[in-house]
Symmetry: C2
Subunit: 421 residues, 2 copies
């Protein structure tokens, strides 16, 4: 039965939009408690061609959409030099030369003091290209991905979100009418789950479909954790497995025989479908509990793992430490079978080298050694998902590395999900 | 001579980036006081092909990039219905059914109460495709365009900005290295002019080049003006001339003989170059003084004129009024000769019908009749730019219209500019 609000939505909408809402309702049927019971997106149920794939409306995925880190640093170089004087606050906070354009090459979100009263504006923006075919899930992932930048600073409350959506010029009108409301609803539901709302944004057309937003909060100093306080003896915790980029690619290759042939010796179709599902679930999961527990267990700083891969983000975090420390990573938790797939693809992903892009990845957190195990236990108790101790903080020159032969931890799709998908 | 900060910028940059900075410096030479003395962008001075045109890196300009208003309303329809309950604050403010996604179909910026203390988060986002060929000016225009949404609410101080930049996949590496820092610098200079800073953002690659950002401020209730208070007897003031879309198109047609032939009977090449210059100048101008004077002269509400044209935005503003009022527009100030060009193009622009898109257009302000003339005089005194009384507020059902034969006011390029360009 349709709920009253959804009935109201359907009234006055175009037939396509009505169908879309009906299909969303169907997909959500009987699953008020969450994600795992949702039916997967079926293009045909929306009167779209069964071959419709949202992921075809962009030529890039994950890291591909970002300007490479070294190019960006070079381009931004010029913009910081003349602001050194105006920039004392950041210098004070970071103890290292800090680009005024903090977000790009430094922190995950910007922190702007609002003058008297000790309040600061904490905000971030991000957008991504479609990397899963389910528009509703894509909306959820995009929202979780934006919020993750706040969570990396230990911020748990978001005051407001804006949504940034570009609809592909290559979609038919019907495809647009089906896909757009589903993406928006996914985004909005994720915001609601995070206890915030979407108050505005922009919708434009563009050759590639892009989905993103802005997350903003006004915070007291005790509500965020400046990620510069790692000390020798800390350990590194990661709250989501790696391998989302590998999994979404492998899933696309199920439709492309010549690509599939390259990996079919190391993985079954069922393995790929499970890994894809696990990835979607993981990318749509908020890092909010992870952020809340950072306060409880006295975290010394964190970042979220996204487009530049585990090592890229670890290096950026290391670079901004006050103390002379370095990060050494020993363990790589990877979505089951995806390490084998990555290896079978040669140098393409560089997963075990720490360079494979993640979308809406986990938090990488520096925790006091004696607190880390309790942190992992607590997050598993609260959310039912594991977190892993993956490395240590030692004396060093603010760099990060992965040891020669890291231990790969195979992270299975959860049994509960396995049964459903 | 290069200033010390710019020297610092050049060190360590690639040769292309170094050249770009040198060229920026050249273009800014001797003009610390402002825009009018800046030399125009010359691709060859940056070792780019003389035929390089930034505006070719998008197929759309102005309104073209927005999803049409009616389509958007339909797509968004579904998202508001189930939030009526959560939405009392907005209802209280607006006295009309207000979509929670305020920005898209209602106000120019969203206002989110921050709980105790009376503070609200006021924020907006916007991005546009290149519509002028000078990357530095394009950056300035994009920034002014984002800030304009805050200014429309009478907000004069912006606490923080984020920049959103998509570099075209179709640019060569050299083009990218030249264009990107110039756009960023233009954006940043405009932010500085507005008394704010750019603390972060996102840079991605995309088929089309897009430039935009986010503007955020934390404000007391007396620092913004909810645009719902027009009363019968008010007059409507517009602070920038119309016709920017016509001018930037006409300017592109100088390179396209078959298009140029359609308008060359009504306009000279020099007229087009002057109108283009006037447009750039106008689009890069901040609406900040216009916003400040709204408080001094007791404005009853305002909006900024952008992608949906004068009438589109007037209608949206009318729709959200508390009182039963309607707007009637009698006068259309248009950049010199652009009304004639628009007429020669048939129905293409619909400039005199109020539908021609503007970018970073003026504020359309409801002012008490007895204050309007003083407002216009004051803004001209402070900025050297005219504002115009263009219509009246009468009793009605919250609609807006332009009279049958509106008076077109030809707005010349300023003499000062005329000499220089």
């Amino acid at each position: 039965m349709m709920s009253a609000p959804l009935m109201a939505e359907a009234r006055g909408a175009t037939p396509a939009a009505r169908d879309a809402f009906a299909a969303v309702q169907l997909e959500l049927a009987g699953a008020p408690a969450g994600l795992a019971l949702r039916r997967p997106f079926d293009p045909a149920a929306h009167s779209l061609d069964p071959s419709f794939r949202l992921t075809r409306f962009s030529d890039l995925k994950g890291r591909g959409c970002k300007v490479p880190q070294e190019v960006l640093s070079r381009l931004l170089e010029g913009l910081s030099a003349d602001e050194a004087g105006a920039n004392d606050q950041d210098h004070h906070l970071f103890h290292v030369p800090m680009n005024r354009l903090g977000k790009w090459i430094g922190m995950d979100a910007s922190i702007t003091p609002l003058g008297a009263g000790g309040l600061s504006l904490v905000q971030t923006t991000d957008f991504i290209y479609p990397l899963v075919d389910d528009p509703y899930m894509m909306g959820k992932i995009a929202c979780a991905n934006v919020l993750s930048d706040l969570y990396a600073l230990g911020v748990t409350e978001c005051d407001n979100m804006l949504m940034l959506l570009a609809v592909s010029t290559k979609m038919t009108e019907r495809e647009r009418d089906v896909v757009t409301p589903l993406i928006m609803r996914g985004f909005k539901d994720s915001a609601m789950e995070a206890g915030t709302t979407v108050s505005g944004g922009q919708t434009v057309v563009n050759p590639w479909c892009t989905i993103g937003g802005v997350a903003t909060t006004v915070a007291q100093p005790n509500e965020y954790i400046i990620p510069d306080n790692a000390v020798v003896g800390d350990v590194l915790v990661l709250t989501k497995p790696l391998g989302t980029q590998v999994a979404v690619n492998a899933h696309q290759w199920l439709d492309i025989p010549e690509r599939w042939n390259r990996i079919k010796l190391v993985v079954s179709e069922e393995d790929v479908r499970k890994a894809y599902q696990r990835s979607m679930d993981s990318m749509a999961r908020l890092n909010r509990v992870a952020a809340r527990l950072m306060h409880k267990y006295n975290a010394h700083g964190a970042t979220d793992v996204t487009g530049f891969g585990l090592l890229g983000h670890a290096q950026t975090l290391a670079k901004h430490q006050k103390n002379e420390v370095s990060f050494v990573i020993h363990n790589l938790p990877v979505i089951s079978k995806m390490a084998a797939v990555a290896k079978a693809c040669g140098n393409m992903f560089q997963l075990l080298q720490g360079h494979s892009a993640e979308t809406s990845g986990g938090l990488l957190i520096c925790l006091p050694r004696e607190q880390a195990a309790a942190y992992c236990k607590d997050i598993e108790k609260q959310e039912g998902y594991q977190a892993w101790i993956i490395g240590i903080v030692e004396k060093g020159m603010r760099t990060a590395r992965i040891i020669d032969k890291p231990r790969v931890i195979e992270v299975p799709a959860k049994e509960k999900e396995g049964e459903l998908w």
